[in-house]
Each structure stands twice: as C-alpha cells, then as structure tokens.
C-alpha cells in the first residue's frame, strides 16, 4: 500500500476546491465484499476473537483513512481507531445486514467517533453539558439499498452539481467542517455559506430522487 501518498491525500492544507476526484469504488472497497464482512461481523458479535482480528485486517486501513482524514492527527487517529474496534467488539450484534452494508456501518461508526473527537477538541474547555450535544456514537439505521447502485447515483448527481457546492459537501462529510468553519475558511458570511450548501443539497436530492 502506498502509505505516503495516502497520507498526503489525507492531510490537505485547509479547504481548497480540488480538481474532480473520481468517486468510484476504490480498490479497498471492492476488495472487501459484503458477503465476506457480514459473516465476520456476525462471528464478532458471538464473541469470536480471531474474527475480530480478521475484520481488523480487512477493514482497518479503510477506517484509519477515514479517521485520519477527519482528525489530521496520527496520534488521535490511532486512539479513535482503537475505540472504534473496541466498540465494534461490543456492538457488533447491532449490525443489521438488512439495513446497511457492513463497510458503511463501520465507516459511519468511525466517522461519528471522529467527529465526536473533533467537536470535543473544539470545546475542550467548555463545561461537560456542552458535550451532550456531541454526535451519537451509534450509526443510525439505514434503509436497505443496493450499495453499488446508490454509489453510482450519488456520483452522477454530485457530478451534476457545480464544483463549489460539491467540494463543500465533501468537506463537511469527510473533513468534519461545520458551517461556521466553512464560512471562515472561504471568507464569506455564514448566511452565504448556508445558502450555497442548502442549494447544493436541494439539487442533489432532486437528482437522487429522479
């Protein structure tokens, strides 16, 4: 695996509008098919320790990529990756194959944990009450879908967006940026940022529902 290249990808300086990045299935996603991960998760749920090690071998690079992209700190990312797998060990029984693909379930867990950490960093000195607003640890239930078909549709619809809203949506999802952070980075008023993104989301939804 080309770790160096991956690191560069994971640590961009500030928000820029990247040239169109292909949103196709990466080799990592393609290499861990659903039919292999689902039985592994089921085995983990039953307390099978070697299955957890196997699951780690298959998915940790993808999850570490997502976490590192969000946190941009290797030491934090290592801790969160650890938390995620401990959480998987304890909550694997909650995975419902009818509702989510295993890799999406795992990525959502990793993303929620990372955003949790990001927000906690931002309010490190705020009182404990503020922490109750942090994103939930549990991935929410997904509807049953055909992941591949859905991926293709999102790609098509994102491509129909202008480059700016597309980059902003990706920055929010993959970098954990909030409205105010995006507004600050782009040097526009908060209201402008909101209307840019909302318009983008409307278009995206319209396209996805066509």
């Amino acid at each position: 695996m080309s770790t160096k290249l991956a690191h560069r990808n994971a640590l961009p300086a500030g928000l820029t509008f990247p040239s169109r990045r292909p949103l196709g299935m990466t080799e990592a996603m393609a290499l861990v098919p659903r039919h292999e991960l689902t039985p592994l998760l089921r085995a983990v749920a039953s307390g099978d320790r070697p299955a957890l090690a196997k699951l780690y071998a298959r998915t940790s690079a993808k999850l570490y990529g997502v976490i590192l992209r969000l946190l941009r700190s290797e030491s934090d990312a290592e801790e969160v990756l650890q938390e995620v797998f401990v959480s998987v060990w304890r909550n694997a029984a909650r995975f419902d194959e009818e509702r989510a693909s295993p890799i999406t379930w795992l990525c959502t867990l990793a993303r929620n944990r990372s955003i949790d950490r990001l927000r906690r960093r931002q309010l490190a000195t705020a009182p404990l009450e503020a922490a109750s607003e942090i994103a939930l640890d549990e991935p929410s239930a997904f509807e049953r879908i055909d992941a591949q078909q859905e991926a293709g549709r999102l790609r098509t619809c994102l491509d129909e967006l202008e480059s700016r809203p597309r980059a902003l949506i990706e920055a929010a999802f993959l970098d954990g940026a909030t409205y105010s952070q995006l507004a600050e980075r782009e040097g526009v008023p908060l209201g402008t940022m909101k209307s840019w993104i909302r318009r983008g989301l409307q278009r995206l939804k319209g396209c996805l529902e066509r």
């Binding site: 695996m1 770790t3 991956a6 990808n9 994971a10 990045r21 949103l23 990466t26 996603m29 320790r49 957890l52 090690a53 940790s60 690079a61 993808k62 570490y64 990529g65 997502v66 590192l68 992209r69 290797e74 990312a77 290592e78 650890q82 938390e83 797998f85 060990w89 304890r90 693909s101 999406t104 990525c107 944990r113 949790d116 906690r120 960093r121 404990l128 922490a131 607003e133 942090i134 939930l136 640890d137 991935p139 929410s140 997904f142 509807e143 992941a147 859905e150 991926a151 999102l154 949506i169 929010a172 999802f173 909030t178 409205y179 105010s180 909302r198 989301l201 995206l204 939804k205 996805l208």
Partner: protein
C-alpha cells in the same frame, strides 16, 4: 420509509445538514432533539447518511501503525477469550455479589478477589510478588459503588460496578488512578459491565497500598484532557486483602 409522513423541505434540509455534521450550538441541539422525538426526522437523517455513504469511496486507505490490534486486545480484556461457560459463572457470581455488596464490604472485596484470581481452565498464576489488593470505590450517599481487585502478580485489575448511575450515549465513566504523587492517571473508559485490564509495567508500580482509584463522568470516549474533566462519582483507596 413508507410509514413516515413526508417532512417539510425545511426539516429535510435540517436533516441533511445534521447528517453532514454542519450544525453547531443551538441548531445542533434542536436537530438532536428532533432526532430523539420525531421518527420522520430520524428516517430523513438515515436517508441522508445513506446518500452520502458513497463519499467514503473517495478516501484512500491508510495502513495504520503496528500495535493497534494488540492495544484493542488489551482493552477488550482477557476474559473475552475464555469460553462462554466461564462468563456465565462469573455473571452468576457477580449477581450474588451484588446482593452481598450492600451488606458486607469485606465479603464483597474477598469475592471480587476470588473472581480475579480464580480463573477456571487456566494454569494457576505464579506465586504473587506481592499480596493482592482491593479497593471499595464509593460515592457520597451510596450513589455509586464499585469494587476493584488488583493482582500485582500478573498486573490484572478488575473493577466490578455494583451501583453506578448509567451513562447516556454522550457520556462515559472513566477510571483514574491517583498514586502518591497526587496526579490522576487514566486507567481507561469503563465498559458497561465489569472492567478487566492488564496494566503496563511502569503504571503497575504505582498501584500500591493507599493509592486512590476514582471514577469520573466524562464526555463519551473519555476526558479530553490529561485529568478528569467531569465530576468524580466515586473514589476509594487500595488496601491489602
């Protein structure tokens, strides 16, 4: 989902913003509240999460450093590798202990020690370098009560909650060691049930008679800083068993 009534455009936009993680402060609090109370909103958030999931394809995998799986193993604890029979036995004993806990501290402590040291199916541990120790970790007015057993021979620490106010999804309980120097060291975020950890060599040396163990309420995942950030729910000192 077909059973949920359609959301207003405004609500659906909020669901999208929430799923993307754009919201902060009051808006985030409102969205959380809606997620808790409004099934239609919850479905909308799920749907948006789902729509965005293919974005993960754009993230390049990065090989994590070595040693993380081992750290995960340590955190999960040794008992998990044992057969389920042992766990059932432990649970049964724990249930019995819970009844006893309100009565005799000494009895509870000795039972906890028995749980820590007696491990069916395993080779007997080597002769202890020092005597096992216990701590009754208690909060004011019996609001929280846990018992800890420390076996220096194999550096295993077990903490059994008897009475602990449940932490919600946004909070965790964290265990702290406060040795003679008075500086709290995190022993990790506590699981829902019994906590079993193997303590690293340098830290193990600090688990001595008179050292304090404490449990604090923290944001989910543990304290953001070096020490406890939330209220201390219970504390107690290690004593020789």
């Amino acid at each position: 989902m077909s059973s949920a009534p359609p959301l207003s455009t405004e609500r659906d936009a909020l669901a999208a913003e929430y799923a993307l993680g754009l919201l902060e402060g009051q808006e985030l609090a409102n969205a959380r509240e809606l997620e808790r109370t409004d099934p239609a909103f919850r479905v909308a958030v799920d749907r948006w999460n789902h729509r965005f999931a293919p974005l993960y394809d754009g993230v390049a995998p990065v090989e994590p450093p070595e040693g993380i799986l081992e750290a995960i193993d340590r955190q999960i604890g040794p008992a998990a590798t044992q057969g389920s029979d042992n766990i059932v036995v432990l649970r049964r004993r724990l249930a019995r202990w819970r009844v006893l806990a309100s009565g005799s501290t000494a009895l509870a402590a000795s039972l906890a020690l028995a749980l820590l040291i007696e491990r069916p199916g395993e080779i007997a541990p080597p002769a202890p370098r020092s005597a096992p120790m216990v701590a009754m970790i208690e909060g004011g007015g019996g609001t929280a009560r846990l018992v800890a057993a420390w076996n220096a021979a194999d550096r295993r620490l077990m903490v059994i909650p008897a009475v602990v106010p449940p932490a919600d999804a946004a909070h965790s309980h964290e265990l702290w060691l406060i040795p003679a120097d008075g500086k709290p060291r995190s022993m990790g975020v506590m699981p829902d049930g019994t906590m079993r950890v193997t303590i690293d060599e340098p830290m193990a040396g600090k688990l001595r008679e008179g050292a304090m163990l404490a449990v604090s309420l923290e944001p989910a995942g543990g304290s953001p800083g070096d020490g406890p950030s939330g209220p201390v729910l219970a504390s107690g000192k290690l004593t020789r068993a």
